[in-house]
């Protein structure tokens, strides 16, 4: 199936100039970030509820408002991840209408980066790149590696040297060339801008960035559609570079503009780790001036000390009446455990950040219990198990005999209750020695 989309081109957010479609991420005149502008009149015809619901259960149902080149035939069913009602977690943190948007199960590599990469690589092919790459703290690396393999593109991926082992392995297994850089993400990213200048490679989050970032909008479209074409009252979103939270709002605004949902205010809340919190710090200080930080947190996927979209994210959060918070590494681990124990969702450290921040937002009264709130979980816990290594230890092995199992339970739980002991005795099981 071939997908049609609205006409689109690059536009400078700052000076308003337009640049057609090309691998370019910054305005050549003022260096401001470029974004995609659509022909919204055409979108009124193509981006309708009927067309969307007739589409496949993946992000390509929204192709009419994605920057997809003519003739592109996507066959990777990325996205349309579950929106889960989180009653158990809600009880624990005082929320009555809480939902988890669970991109920990996004296809193919278990993070929301699968969405953005699929859009970016469609454009990389259109622009004729043989080699694609990215700078990444892990999830993006995994996704670029996997999807490049499927498309037959060569991938060169640059990461900070201290990345989690699972994220390294999950990049290498797809045959990508992985380059570990002796520095933090901001060092890696700076190098990638220079490489993109020198080599004719398509870096998904550098020279292909405007196209790539649009893939994040699909999270917003899905939330609205899965709520029955309604917008929530609040969205809580993890922030690294600050792009995702802005793109979810862009999705909501497009849906409102096209009359697909009721026009209502949605408040946006940003989550960061205290060890890398340039955006939440700016929000708390009532400014959009981002002071770069040197990251020091277990939430390495959020560890971007100089976030490119940080000023815009801080401005947007404040404009919607939202807030931003940051939490300690101890709280991050608790957040991961809380979500797993209450909802059966295992998220990575970034998700721990988001859950812990959400709990605090309710505790501090920044979100009211009855409001419909969607919490975005963007990556899978299997990739950051090292963050939990101190929390769980293997128990001793038990011999395969019932008497040993009984003994084992007594060790764990103490002596059985008298009534239970009596029932067990009637059943012929001796527990009392």
């Amino acid at each position: 199936m071939e997908y049609s989309c609205s006409a689109y081109e690059l536009k400078c957010n700052e000076c308003g100039k337009r640049f057609g479609n090309q691998p370019l991420s910054a305005c050549p005149d003022c260096l401001a970030p470029l974004e995609i502008a659509y022909d919204m009149e055409l979108a009124r015809v193509t981006f309708t509820r009927a067309n969307i619901t007739a589409g496949p259960f993946n992000i390509w149902r929204y192709a009419a408002l994605l920057p997809i080149p003519a003739g592109f035939q996507p066959d990777l069913p990325v996205g349309f991840t579950p929106l889960v009602r989180a009653k158990n977690l809600g009880k624990r943190i005082g929320a009555k209408n809480l939902y988890i948007k669970n991109d920990a199960v996004c296809f193919p590599t278990l993070s929301f980066k699968d969405r953005v990469v699929s859009v970016a690589l469609a454009n990389a092919q259109k622009f004729g790149f043989d080699v694609v790459g990215c700078s990444s703290t892990g999830n993006l690396a995994n996704s670029v590696a996997a999807q490049s393999a499927r498309l037959g593109l060569k991938a060169t991926i640059l990461v900070p040297a201290d990345l989690e082992p699972a994220k390294i392995l999950n990049t290498q297994v797809y045959g990508a060339r992985l380059v570990r850089i002796d520095g933090n993400y901001d060092h890696v990213n700076r190098l990638c801008t220079q490489i993109a200048d020198e080599y004719n490679w398509g870096f998904v989050n550098v020279n292909l960035r405007p196209y790539y970032a649009e893939g994040s909008k699909t999270v917003g479209y899905e939330i609205a559609e899965q709520l029955g074409w309604r917008l929530p009252d609040n969205v809580v979103c993890p922030m690294a570079g600050g792009s995702l939270i802005r793109k979810i709002r862009k999705a909501f605004n497009e849906l409102i503009e096209l009359g697909l949902v009721e026009d209502k205010p949605v408040r946006f809340f940003g989550a960061q780790a205290t060890g890398c919190s340039p955006i939440s710090t700016a929000v708390k200080q009532g400014t959009e001036d981002i002071l770069p930080q040197r990251p020091n947190t277990i939430a390495r996927s959020l560890a971007i000390g100089n976030p490119a979209d940080g000023p815009a994210a801080a401005k947007m959060i404040r404009a919607t009446g939202g807030w931003a918070e940051d939490v300690s590494d101890i709280e991050i681990v608790s957040g991961m455990q809380e979500l797993a124990e209450t909802e059966g969702i295992f998220t990575e450290t970034a998700g721990g950040v988001t859950i812990a921040v959400t709990a605090r937002l309710y505790a501090h009264g920044r979100i009211s219990p009855d409001e419909t709130t969607v919490v975005c979980i963007t990556g899978n816990g299997l990739k950051t198990t090292d963050a939990l290594s101190d929390q769980y230890h293997p128990e001793r092995a038990v011999r395969p005999r019932l008497v040993d199992f009984d003994e084992y339970l007594r060790e764990l739980d103490g002596a059985p209750e008298p009534e239970l002991a009596e029932e067990l005795a009637i059943a012929g099981v001796s527990h009392v020695h």
């Binding site: 305005c27 050549p28 260096l31 700078s135 700076r190 200048d197 989050n205």
Partner: protein, 93 residues
């Protein structure tokens, strides 16, 4: 004393194709003044209406963001490599 200044590709059209140049500036304000003189076309691009460096431009000295070194008060050292990088870099997990 001399420093090497490295420019992003987007700026090369304002410098007659030069990707880098040498400067004797002692600090960031001095470097901006030097660019005013040497590459007036570039100067108008990197500054806003108020004459300040645009917020989308990051300055790195060797491998460090100049803001970690004291910003405008940092005194360039002989042989420093000073890079102008668009802030588009950054922000992807």
């Amino acid at each position: 004393m001399s420093i090497k200044v490295v420019l992003p590709a987007a700026f090369v059209r304002h410098t007659d194709g030069q990707k880098q140049f040498a400067s004797t500036a002692e600090n960031l304000p001095g470097l901006i003044a030097d660019i005013d003189q040497t590459f007036p076309a570039l100067s108008t691009q990197i500054k806003d209406e108020g004459g300040k460096l645009r917020k989308f431009i990051n300055i790195y000295v060797n491998e460090e963001d100049i803001r970690f070194l004291g910003g405008e008060t940092y005194a360039f050292q002989d042989g420093d490599e000073v890079m102008l990088i668009p802030s588009i870099a950054g922000g992807s997990r």
